[in-house]
């Protein structure tokens, strides 16, 4: 465990080097939040609620979604494909560590970096600049736990796509396709309540909604209460266990086809 924590610390330090990039990231986020503000204002156009959500609820959902998005993007798929192409993967395989945990803890370091440099500033901007009032409710208490589970789920998808590179040796197309599927179907860009009923019912059975829809709902509608949130948390936990297991099984298969040219 100690060695994994050292990895986490190391990648956090590496993240620190790119400080000035964060300024642009925050600037980009503020612009994005402003544009979505105008967009949703025109969509609501004085209407009290749409699909059972008020403007404030939808806006908190969408704006926080953009900050959480940066947090949950692990870039593990890009990292793995780079390591495979350059042959670096061989140096991990000979170490007495578990590849999945090794990559998870390295990416967690970057994640903590973006949490402190991007997500928290965005959260503060949302409250102090956009004057959005987040109602107090039990959802806010559960949100941090839900976010951790969401991170693990997002990691599983990225790790899975990274493992696919063992077969394809290319990443751009796979990663872009995965990003689109995850962002659209998880309700990262628009609350799931806006989807047509049939699609909503299908999406609730898929793991994607547990990544964005679940944690964002806890902040957008925090007063829904324990009886709503605990089952949601349970569903998240179920998917985390299932997907961790599945990616481990897939790793056992994928490692057999790995070819390393040089190093």
């Amino acid at each position: 465990m100690k060695s994994y924590l050292a990895l986490l610390r190391g990648s956090y330090m590496v993240g620190l080097v790119y400080r000035y990039g964060f300024l642009f990231n925050i600037a980009g986020n503020v612009l994005y939040m402003s544009v979505t503000y105008f967009l949703w204002r025109s969509i609501y156009q004085g209407r009290e609620t749409l699909n059972g959500l008020t403007f404030d609820q939808t806006y908190i959902y969408v704006a926080l979604g953009s900050a959480v998005f940066i947090l949950l993007k692990t870039y593990v798929d890009w990292q793995l494909s780079f390591d495979i192409r350059e042959g670096m993967i061989a140096t991990y395989l000979i170490k007495p560590i578990d590849l999945q945990l090794y990559i998870l803890f390295t990416s967690l370091g970057y994640c903590l970096m973006s949490l402190s440099a991007i997500t928290i500033p965005t959260f503060l901007l949302l409250i102090f600049v956009f004057h959005i009032e987040i109602p107090l409710g039990v959802g806010l208490l559960i949100f941090p736990f839900s976010l951790v589970l969401a991170y693990l789920l997002s990691f599983c998808f990225d790790y899975f796509v990274g493992l696919l590179c063992f077969y394809t040796e290319s990443i751009w197309g796979l990663s872009i396709t995965k990003d689109i599927i995850v962002t659209v179907l998880s309700g990262a860009l628009i609350p799931l309540q806006f989807f047509p009923d049939v699609i909503q019912n299908v999406l609730m059975w898929l793991p994607f909604q547990a990544i964005y829809y679940t944690p964002l709902t806890m902040v957008a509608q925090p007063t829904l209460g324990w009886e709503t949130f605990l089952p949601m948390l349970g569903v998240q936990l179920f998917w985390v266990i299932a997907l961790f297991g599945l990616t481990r099984l897939f790793y056992d298969q994928a490692i057999k086809v790995l070819r390393i040219s040089g190093g």
Partner: protein
Amino acid sequence: MHSFLDYIRLYFIIETQYIKARMQYRADFIISSFGMFFSSLATLGIFWIIFNSIPELAGWTFMQLVFIYGFYMIAISPMQILFDHIWQIRFHVQQGTFLKYYFRPLNMMFYYMSEMFDIKGLTQLAAGVAILIYASIQLGIDWTLLRIALLLLTLFSASLVQISITLMAGCAAFWVLDSYPVLGLAWKLREFAPYPMNIFDGAFRFTFTFIIPLGFVAFYPSQLFLQPQDVSPLVYFSPLVGIGLFALTYWVWTLGVNSYTGTGS
């Protein structure tokens, strides 16, 4: 000096070789085209979902936004296909490999950009053309020869606007070394181009019209076809905006190229 025709011939020779090399990775090409296709339709999908709950957005119907979106996809394609190498400029500048572009009797921007031809961008272009045709049939737009000429002219200008905004961001590499965050920001902004500009308030609309003229990538020129009877006079400037902006970008590029001193190793 080479003539314009020489450059075109040269470009074909270079890209033929490039495409031959890329085609070795056929699976990559197919998967990437697939990804490109999906990612370019994502925003349209979001519009579709939104329009399930509301009849119109800031005075625009869904089909009108589809038209603007098709226009946008075509307008951003030349940047994607021909100028994609701008993303690599930070590596070349940081590692000093950019020096090689000084040593050929060719226009440097031409030489640099010719090293990459993004084949998957053609999927985006094709999807854009299909969407534009579909929307204009649904909207009953009457395509006279004059209108078609106007469409080609405005598309040319709009693509120059998109190219200029991105290249300008990439040129930051000459001064700040890592231009990735700047480019990333320009890339994020690009997503706002197909939005109706009239949803924005004063300061934002001013910015997207005059400072970072995203409105000229799709929304303003599309108005010439969607509601030709009442467009603001601004729209008629759109062909000039593209050419002027590209000239400015070329000037910034030249400044950057001239100020670059290599890495010393």
